[in-house]
Structures are given as C-alpha cells and as structure tokens.
Symmetry: C2
Subunit: 210 residues, 2 copies
DNA sequence: CCCGTTATGTGGTAACTTTCACAAAAGTAG
DNA sequence: CTACTTTTGTGAAAGTTACCACATAACGGG
C-alpha cells in the first residue's frame, strides 16, 4: 500500500504518534509495540498498523517498532525533517500569542515574518520581522514562504488568503472565525474556537448539564 | 429520526450553518433552500437535510427554510439559547489572547473567571475575575460553572482537567499541546495547533511544495 | 380547484473508516 | 535445526458517514 489518498484523520494520528514517541524516547524506551503505543495514545493497535502501512513497513515482526527509527520515518513522510518558514498575518491579541508560542519552533515551524496593517507600537519576538501588510506579497514571494497563519478579522480573512495564494503560499492555517474557501492549489485548515465551544455546549446539553 | 447518537461532524456542521444563516439574516434574506445554503457553506444539500433531520423537520417543502426560525431551532438543539459561563485556566500568552477575544461573547460564552498560579501583574478584561489556581475548585463549584478552557503548560493539563472535573466541570476545551484523557462524565475537545500545522506540512509535501 | 413547479424528508446505496482475525516473519530457547 | 512465542502486515467484516434519487408536500397561477 503506497501513498495515494491518505485520509486526514490518519495524518492527524501520525502527529499524535509522534508526540507519544517523543515521550517514549524521553523515558529511554527504545522499542514499542503497536499494542503499547495504542494503549498510551488511545488508538486501536490495528489502526496504528494500518495508518503506518499507507507509507511502508516500519516495524519488525515479533519485536515492534524502534522508537527513534519510527520517529524519523513519520517525520519524513510528513515532511517534518526540515524547518518550515511560516508567515503570520494579523498581529492582534491572538496573533501576538501565536508569535510567542514556543510550541511551533519545537515542531520545526519558524514564524519568521509577520504582517499587520498597523506596525507602530507592536513588538515581535527575536528572529521575526514585522512588516506592514502592504509588503505581504513582496516579502512572501522573495522569501519563498509556502505556509501562513491567518489571524485577522473575519471580514478580511478571505481576501488575505487570496493575496497569500498569489504570493505563492500553498498552505494556510486560519484562525479567523470564518471558513476560508481554499484558493486554487492551496490547502486551508480552519481552526474555529467558537465552533469547538459550541460542540461542547451541544454535548453538555445532550447529557443534561445544568 | 430523533436524538440518539449524533456524529460530531454533524454538530460541527450545525455550527457552520449557524454562521452562514447569520450572514443571510444580515443580508435581509428570509428564506433559504438547502441548495443555496449548501452552495454558500460548501456542503452537499442532502447532507444538510440529513443533519437537520436528526432533530426534527424544520423546513417547508417547496419553499425551503425560514432563516430566523432555523437559526432559533439550531440554537435550541445545540443548547446555545442561553449564556454559558466559562472558566479559563492558565493566563499566559494564549490565555490572555483568549480572554480578550471578542468572538466568544458573540456566541453566548462568557469567560467570567480565570485562574493562574501567578496572579500578580496580570490583567483581565472587565467582567472577568482572576483567582489564584488554588481557589479553582472552590470558585468553580460555588459558581456552578460547567465549562472550562485549559491553556496551561502541557505538563499540567491532565491534572488541571481532573481538578476541574472534581469541581463539577462537564466540558473542557484544551489548548495545551497534549491530549487530555477525558475524566469520567466529562467531554474533552483538544485543539492542537501544532498538529494542524503538521497536517498542512504533510499535504504540502505530498503536493511537492518546495 | 386543479395542475405545474419547487424543494423537503428519507430509503437505499456507495464510499470510506475502523476493527477483527490470522498467516507470515522474526526472535529465542533448547 | 525445531518448536514456541511474539507482533507485524493485511484481507475481510463491521460500522459509519455521505450522497443520490424520488415520493411527498406545499405553494402559486390560471
């Protein structure tokens, strides 16, 4: 079975496995079975083996998976064995929090440029350069940036996405509370905190909370 | 067909429909067909009708759906025809951004209390009270809060979740980059920005970006 | 009042995802 | 080298979710 159409849930689980493997490595564990990995991250062992089977054979029968090897293999198939430069658009409350968030770097993402209509009085961490929004196309194109995070007001999200697409961006993570329709040849992931809370509200109501 | 086991994707789409209906209302449109609604929010019309059919019959054959009515109906089944008090745990970069984020209020969620180990020098918006983390159980219990947002360091997320559960919280939205295992009788939704970026990286790599 | 038009609600099916269950492979001990 | 244990990789079954297609109902015009 080799890479054709991989379901997004599978890709999400790969990321989860990576997290879990990290912990195992820190604990000094060198080999892990799908049963143990599954127990740790709450996934059916067969599911894990099927997910991995999309990309090749990484285990050893009768033994399991070598933690470090598997980590490398997953990173390779996910394209995480490199650093991704990421542009942030919208340096408001959320944007600033994202800039300061250390988690991205740990995963190989570097927020190296940020854009906002208003640049005055705004501070960005070291290693990141803040530009006025009008410079977006030029800077993104010059730096060859392929990935962007959108954290602008929802009324501007679609337009920003299209400008980014024209500048060569191929993947957008959108935090604006409004679904961006993916421009041609661009992958968009919408993270909608409002929707998440609403889903919670639904299940709480179902279960008769308060 | 009446409420039994509703798939989460369906609930997520209900939230999406709500957004879309809001726009329609603002445009002064009073009636909408599943075809038009589907076109606008990128969902198959039959899918929309099936989703709604879980909860009853809201449309009129030959006509479509009355925008305002449908909004009310969806809000009712989702438990959004009320205000939810929400506790925020962890007032760091992300926590602060979430406190200032206006979107929650618009959707009927009120971040009325916040907790952090260190309260000194931290500011919270009006209408929200900041407490030391040690007060968490007491305050949550007293106020009868059922919903919480966790934005603490990943090493503390699981423990915080369990404390919240003991204090009576039934739903948790977790932003820490680590899956919280749901305590008994608690619904947990994990929002993992690292994973989202990794999924993007995967699809960009697949498509041969850079 | 009847007929044509429109759009819902839903049975059936197709597509997809998860889980089961087992043969095949690798290691180990005698 | 053989017998036994372990755990993978995977075909097939079970379970879910999405979509098609049409009978059914409501509306409107003549």
């Amino acid at each position: 079975m080799r890479r054709f159409k991989i379901p997004e849930v599978t890709v999400g689980r790969l990321s989860l496995y990576l997290r879990c493997l990290n912990e195992l490595e820190e604990e000094g564990i060198e080999v892990v079975s799908s049963a143990e990995l599954g127990r740790r991250c709450g996934v059916n062992p067969a599911q894990i083996r099927k997910d991995l089977a999309y990309f090749g054979e990484f285990g050893t029968r009768g033994v399991g998976y070598y933690v470090k090897e598997l980590m490398q293999d997953i990173k390779r198939v996910m394209g995480l064995n490199r650093t991704w430069e990421v542009a942030l658009v919208g340096v408001g409350n959320l944007g600033t929090a994202l800039l300061r968030y250390k988690g991205f770097q740990r995963h190989g993402f570097k927020l190296s440029v940020a854009f906002d209509i208003h640049t005055e009085g705004k501070e960005v961490p070291e290693g990141c350069v803040l530009y006025p929004a009008s410079e977006m196309e030029r800077v993104v194109k010059e730096k060859g940036i392929k990935m962007a995070i959108v954290a602008v007001h929802y009324s501007q999200a679609q337009e920003v996405a299209e400008r980014l697409a024209r500048a060569g961006v191929k993947g957008i993570l959108n935090f604006a509370p409004m679904r961006i329709r993916p421009p041609k040849k661009v992958v968009v992931k919408n993270v909608d905190m409002g929707t998440e809370l609403e889903i919670l509200a639904f299940y709480l109501t179902m279960r008769g909370a308060k």
